[in-house]
């Protein structure tokens, strides 16, 4: 049993020896804290935690031992460092040497600690904190300041014995959490974006470089930014309405200018729509401007319904457009009807054919599409009833002619047949000759159909020469004359119709004026409005203005006879009187008998021939 007790004791002692750290032996938290502020001296402090009556119970001693010594020495200075402290001055301090200190109280080791001085360096706080205002922002909300301090006086930085690192912390006075900056080696640092109108606190602490422990903080520096008056005191800037308005209008102006310049033409079109100039379908006005008539003619020729204007240069030559009446297609009123129907015309403000691309003057709006008469309802005062009337009248006229023809029993059936298919409805010349008319009449249905088939023009009026104007006010036309009132006139022209039986050289419906004139009984008339033909055919028939005299004194057939048999119908006339709006009175100028030459080149007269003829 003694051996066991000895063994136990030995074990305990060995355990005690093996546990060398004070913490393990005593089982208490360490109470000695040693610190060197400048790496030249150091001091140790112990807290009086567990032993309230340290001093009363006995003196507490701090023993220290340097590495090289073998015995413990007592603290050289209990006073300098304050209560419960031990101060080691420079003579007792060696830097890179291990020290051990222990606190004892009556041979009771309270705490023990080993260290080297370079490990316990904790510098004093920096001194001399001050700040200066660097600048303020334009908005007057933020400001930048520069903080400056001096190293602790105890630390010999100038000789390089110790190298210090600083850490700055700042916060708003009202805040609780400090903001930190990275450790720096300099003693000057700027602080950016501090808010004006608030107060801040700044504190700095230092440590030895490459060490871990910081020293104590300096006293807090009070930065009062609220005292700095700023122009804009409001933290929250009001919405800059003025700026918005100014910039908004500026931007709008810029956008408007851009639109104006980019869509210049379009706007121009919107504001000032262009007045449509009269134009010909399919013809570029530039061609006309350039004077390339050949091209224009070719273009026109490509259209079936147009005629070239071969006598463009002969401006004084006027033409009356003659159209073969095509009752199938005809929906509009005849021009003759129009002439006759003054009421209609006046009421509907109709002078003639609506304006299509043929260029004929019209009362209608110019930009009505140029399909023919079929569309011009506005111009046509004539209703369908009238149209049917006209048609029936025309048929009656034709019937008249038919009768004449039958009576005469002469016909040149071959004539129409030789008529070239190109002859169109429009090309037919007014004739007073019944046979011709008859021929026309007899073959009219097929001709008509033939012509109608070929004609691309929907409705073309059949123009007739006004041979007489009855006192009643109706116009006598021959042939194909429409007499609304009297049928007797139909018979009245049999004679002239008989007279007109020359052998026409049917040159594709190309009739000599002279021959035609013989057949014409011109007594009184209303002038037929000359029309400028713009529709092109391969071979056209033109009809110059006849010498149409208005002789009211020569009514009836007698005048007709006289005029037809005696006088050579002058080819050209001059305007005598203008009876507006009903027409022109043309003087019949006695012209010399046309030459053979003229006879040959019938149908049209060249300027040379005209010069010969005319005085």
């Amino acid at each position: 049993m003694d051996l066991r007790q000895l063994l136990l004791i030995l074990a305990l002692v060995c355990a005690n020896d093996s546990l060398s750290t004070s913490e393990v032996i005593l089982g208490r938290p360490p109470i000695i804290k040693c610190r060197s502020p400048e790496q030249e001296t150091f001091s140790c402090h112990w807290t009086d935690r567990d032993f309230l009556n340290l001093t009363t119970l006995g003196t507490v001693q701090l023993l220290y031992m340097r590495r090289n010594d073998e015995e413990w020495k007592e603290c050289p200075d209990y006073v300098t460092a304050g209560e419960n402290s031990c101060y080691f001055n420079t003579s007792y301090t060696s830097i890179w040497i291990t020290y051990c200190v222990k606190l004892i109280k009556k041979d009771e080791v309270l705490d023990e600690k080993c260290f080297s001085v370079d490990e316990i360096v904790q510098p004093d706080p920096p001194v001399g904190l001050n700040w200066t205002l660097l600048n303020t922002s334009l908005t007057g909300i933020h400001a930048d300041i520069q903080v400056r301090w001096d190293p602790p006086p105890s630390a010999d930085v100038q000789k390089g014995w110790i190298t210090l690192e600083y850490e700055l912390q700042y916060k708003d006075v009202n805040e609780t959490k400090w903001r930190e900056l990275e450790p720096m080696l300099t003693t000057v640092v700027p602080l950016y974006s501090l808010k004006l109108g608030r107060d801040y606190e700044i504190r700095v602490r230092s440590r030895q470089r490459a060490s871990e422990k910081f020293g104590e903080f300096s006293e807090a520096l009070y930065v009062s930014l609220s005292s700095i008056s700023s122009v804009l005191c409001n933290e929250e800037i009001e919405f800059p309405w003025l700026l918005v308005i100014v910039f908004g209008t500026f931007g709008l102006i810029v956008v408007m200018f851009l639109i104006l310049f980019s869509k210049h033409r379009r706007l121009k079109m919107l504001i000032l729509p262009p007045v449509p100039a009269p134009k010909i379908k399919g013809i570029d006005p530039d061609l006309l401007k350039k004077g390339k008539l050949d091209e224009v003619n070719s273009i026109l020729a490509s259209h079936d319904s147009y005629k070239p204007q071969l006598y463009n240069d002969d401006s004084w030559v006027e033409f009356i457009e003659l159209d073969i009446d095509d009752p199938d297609e005809k929906t509009d009123g005849l021009d003759t009807d129009r002439l006759l129907g003054d009421d209609h015309c006046k009421s509907h403000n109709c002078l003639g054919v609506k304006d299509d691309d043929s260029g004929r003057a019209s009362c209608c709006e110019p930009d009505i599409p140029e399909t023919d008469f079929s569309a011009s309802d506005t111009c046509d005062g004539t209703s369908d009833i009238d149209q049917s009337k006209k048609i029936s009248q025309k048929e009656e006229d034709l019937l008249c002619l038919d009768q004449k023809d039958n009576d005469e029993s002469h016909a040149s059936p071959a004539d129409p047949t030789t008529r070239k298919p190109n002859t169109n409805i429009q090309s037919e010349v007014n004739q007073s000759k019944p046979p011709f008319a008859d021929s026309i009449e007899s073959t009219s249905p097929p001709v008509r159909t033939q012509l109608s088939n070929q004609s691309s023009v929907a409705n073309i009026d059949f123009y007739a020469q006004v041979s007489d104007v009855t006192p009643a006010g109706s116009v006598v036309l021959s042939p194909g004359q429409t007499n609304k009132t009297k049928r007797t006139q139909c018979e009245a022209y049999t004679e002239p119709a008989i007279q007109c039986q020359p052998n026409f050289t049917m040159d594709s419906a190309y009739f000599c004026e002279a021959d035609v004139k013989k057949c014409i009984a011109a007594t009184s008339h209303d002038a037929v409005e000359p029309h400028v033909q713009e529709q092109s055919f391969n071979e056209d028939v033109y009809f110059t203005t006849e010498s149409l005299t208005t002789t009211a004194e020569n009514p009836g057939a007698a005048a007709v006879e006289a005029s037809s048999s005696e006088m050579p119908v002058p080819d050209y006339t001059s305007i005598h009187i203008v009876h507006s709006p009903q027409g022109l009175v043309l003087n019949a100028t006695a012209l010399p008998v046309p030459d053979k030459e003229f006879m040959i080149s019938c149908g049209y007269v060249s300027t040379d021939q005209l010069n010969k003829i005319m005085p």
Binding site: W96, C100, Q158, W161, R209
Partner: protein, 249 residues
Amino acid sequence: MSKEALKLQNKEFRVPYVPITWVRNGLSEGVLLVVLLVSNMLLSKKGATSLPICPSGSVGCQVSLGNLFDRAVKLSHYIHSLSSEMFNEFDERYAQGRGFITKAINGCHTSSLTTPEDKEQAQQIHHEDLLNLVLGVLRSWNDPLLHLVSEVQSIKEAPDTILWKAVEIEEQNKRLLEGMEKIVGQVHPGEIENEVYSRWSGLPSLQMADEDSRLFAFYSLLHCLRRDSHKIDNYLKLLKCRLIHDSNC
């Protein structure tokens, strides 16, 4: 002076004022080269803050003492920070509760070198002696560091941070030694000091079979390394402030 020498002189004088027409005339290459060299010289003399680079072995190339000290201080600081970190890591990982600190009172192998122990002594010592001491300490650590790198890998579950720090310290120590030798060559040229350093005989302790003993050996070695690196760092800063900044850092 000979005509040629005069000519050369004149040429050198005139080089900065070379008119452009000369360049065009075909003297361009040579003149341009001279102009570039002269301008480079002029610029380099105007206090280039960047550290000049001297190729090894060059005789004429002269790095200023201030630059050398700057580099040395940076290196020493770096080595010390690495050593501190490495020691702390090792202490946390392996030395807790083992009471190594009390046993480490025994000095390091460099204790034979009488280095100043406080500020007064450091101020009193001559800078040349101090430099030699620094060199001695650095040389003394060549061998231990080498073995530290090789032996630390044998530690059970050694973290990589300790490993690469050991490698880094060993490498930087060599560079610092070279730098210090240059400084000594500038400060105290000509005098060949017999190499003072202390031998290290701690290798067997690092290779002991006993884990505990081995760890204690490492602990004490790392403790000594940290202390000596701090010494060197301090001495160099002291010398720099004294020699370069005239005690007014």
